[in-house]
């Protein structure tokens, strides 16, 4: 029995997604990709802000009026979010989603300048209280796991493939990628990194046989105000989007960590390149003026 390549493309979490892997038979491939798909859909149903029946929507609907029971997985995600909040000095904040109300990213303009200060008062992860069983969110505040769950899903699904005996493959959800084993002939998987200055083109390909590649950037969603281009990544302290960094790509063992590092780096604004360098991981940072700080190694083996 030989290994054959299977390529499953689908749409989830508002993005194009893909599983590419080698399996022994179409039946095995079908079986495991169905499980993986169900896992992505489960996480989307549970954590999407855009679904009224999600756990996150229920928590946000109850803001200021009650406590909502949470499970162990949600508690663990909140704990991880707390770690991000601490590591970033309060910049990475899963309650900062309300700030987006002041901006219209569809139209690329500021909607309500006067609202920014008011919105800032409704942000602050340290005002959320939770324990192993339930969570309380103050009135006016809302949780948004958008910056965590997609990456978490990538890692979880990669683990699922491995648990089912798939040893060569990759998982990609909306541009965030986790490779769990080189191709059967030993070759790494070529991963294309987009050029933030010209998003339709490839900046370069990197070779990955184990590890994750995550990117954050203003490719499509940005606003222009007084001649300054702002990304969609919002600084909870100022209420304004960041403007010094156009995009960041980080390579790490886990997609979740790579994704959090790209977001924190964007929020570090002008300090992003120095902070990324200190993390000792391969990265690419595209500054607002189009300059590239390229620390991607030609071959990456984590």
């Amino acid at each position: 029995m030989t290994l054959a390549l299977f390529d499953v493309a689908f749409k989830a979490m508002g993005s194009p997604c893909r599983f590419q892997f080698y399996a022994h038979s179409p039946a095995q491939a079908r079986n495991v990709s169905d499980l993986a798909l169900a896992c992505v859909q489960r996480l989307e149903r549970k954590y999407s802000r855009y679904r009224s029946d999600s756990l996150v929507s229920r928590i946000n609907d109850q803001a200021g009026s009650g406590i909502v029971p949470i499970d162990q997985e949600t508690k663990a995600l909140l704990e991880y979010a707390r770690q991000c909040y601490q590591e970033s000095g309060g910049l990475f904040d899963i309650t900062s989603g309300v700030l987006a109300e002041a901006f219209d990213f569809q139209q690329g303009r500021v909607r309500d300048l006067a609202a920014i200060d008011r919105l800032c008062a409704r942000v602050g992860f340290d005002r959320i209280t939770y324990d192993a069983g339930c969570i309380t969110v103050p009135a006016g505040m809302a949780l948004d796991f958008g910056g965590i769950v997609k990456e978490y899903a990538v890692d979880t699904v990669a683990g699922l493939f491995q648990q089912h005996g798939i040893e060569h493959g990759l998982v990609e959800l909306g541009g965030d990628i986790r490779v769990f084993g080189a191709q059967p002939d030993g070759r790494a998987w070529p991963i294309a990194v987009r050029n933030p200055n010209r998003p339709d083109t490839i900046y370069r390909r990197i070779q990955v046989s184990q590890g994750a590649v995550a990117s954050s950037g203003d490719y499509e969603r940005f606003i222009e105000h007084d001649g300054v281009r702002y990304s969609h990544v919002l600084n909870p302290k100022t209420g304004w989007p960041v403007s010094s960094v156009k995009a960041v790509t980080v390579v790490a063992e886990h997609c979740l960590v790579a994704g959090s590092l790209t977001t924190i780096a964007m929020l570090k604004d002008a300090a992003a390149p120095a902070w990324l360098k200190a993390q000792n991981l391969p990265f690419l940072c595209c500054l607002a003026d189009g300059r590239m700080v390229d620390h991607l190694n030609p071959a990456i083996n984590l």
């Binding site: 029995m1 095995q28 663990a76 979880t156 491995q162 030993g186 184990q210 979740l256 960590v257 000792n280």
Partner: protein
Amino acid sequence: MVAVEAVVAVTKRVTAAARLSAAALALPGLMPSAEAGRVEESYQADFQYGHYAESDQRMSVDIYQLHGAVPIGEAMTVSANLVRDVVSGASPMFNIKQRDGKPGQVLTGASIRDQRDAASGSLSYAFDPVTATLGGGYSAEDDYISRYVTGQLSYEFNHKLSTLTLAGSVAFDQIEPTGLNLKENKSNQQYLLGWSQVIDKNTLLKLNATFGYQEGFLSDPYKSVFFDGRGLLADTRPTRRYQWAWLGQLVRYFKPLNQAAWHLDYRFYTDSWDIDSHTLEMSWHQPLFEGWMLVPRLRYYSQNQAEFYQAFFSADDSVNRFSSDYRMAGFGALSGGVKLTREWLAPGSLDSLKLQVGFDYYDRKAAYQLAGDNAGDFADYHAYTVTASVQVRF
């Protein structure tokens, strides 16, 4: 001041990325798949046949083994084992003093045939992060009955990178040797404390310490001892034995070599009969292609003799404990073997099917002993074992 700066430098080197990676490992989807044995998730059945044969048409054993494991709910697994050994051939009975003054072996007749049947079962229950296992067994042959119970607790911590294991077993045996008017008992207790640690993603370290205590009739009723000028006396050993052993095992994975793994084990054993032994074992687990795996193995063993051992005794030796059993002698042994496995994942409606064949060669020589307090090469022999097994998971 210098020290303070050094501390600052060290803490600085732990990056935010490293701390986030550690935090990420606490998430349910990202937990590292632990090496240590988890409760089976699927039904499993194994059948193994083995044939062991000693040189010079001495003892040979046919071994038939059936094993099954059944999951009950998410947390429990019941497993059962049936074994039948059929022993035939001659075995050493005693040594005599030859005309040249050197010892020579006297064997039993070749017609001995003995069958041992054993059944055992266990139940394990995982209430994360602890797994508890309780088991017991019964084995019977014409002249020997053994009953035992075992218990084990293992505790996983440190994001499942560390496992602590506590285990104990107690056995009660009855011996009624054929042709002798004798009915004896013995008991055997064994305790184990083990620690296994995932050091990094390519390295696993296991350490364990065991303590054993045996009491009762510990002699071999089929062995005799030659006293030159007096004749034969029955093998007579102490009625108590304390045993201690320490084992260290290192497993190292080599990703670039198709996930090959190198196992290195060292065991030191000592007991109250003054036997010390050293065992060094190495094996290489090489996945080949399409589910094939090759495992070559090498092992060296050395022990010194028990304080009451002599190849034979003289009439005026005034001893009250004495044995000439070759297993109580000082000797060394080299063994090596190879196993070849082919595994099919998801064939038909099964989860997996695994076939395995193995060959082992064992060479025992007094001359292989580390520090030579041996009684000569008269008890040297070699043996081989072939095994074949099939395993299905469904």
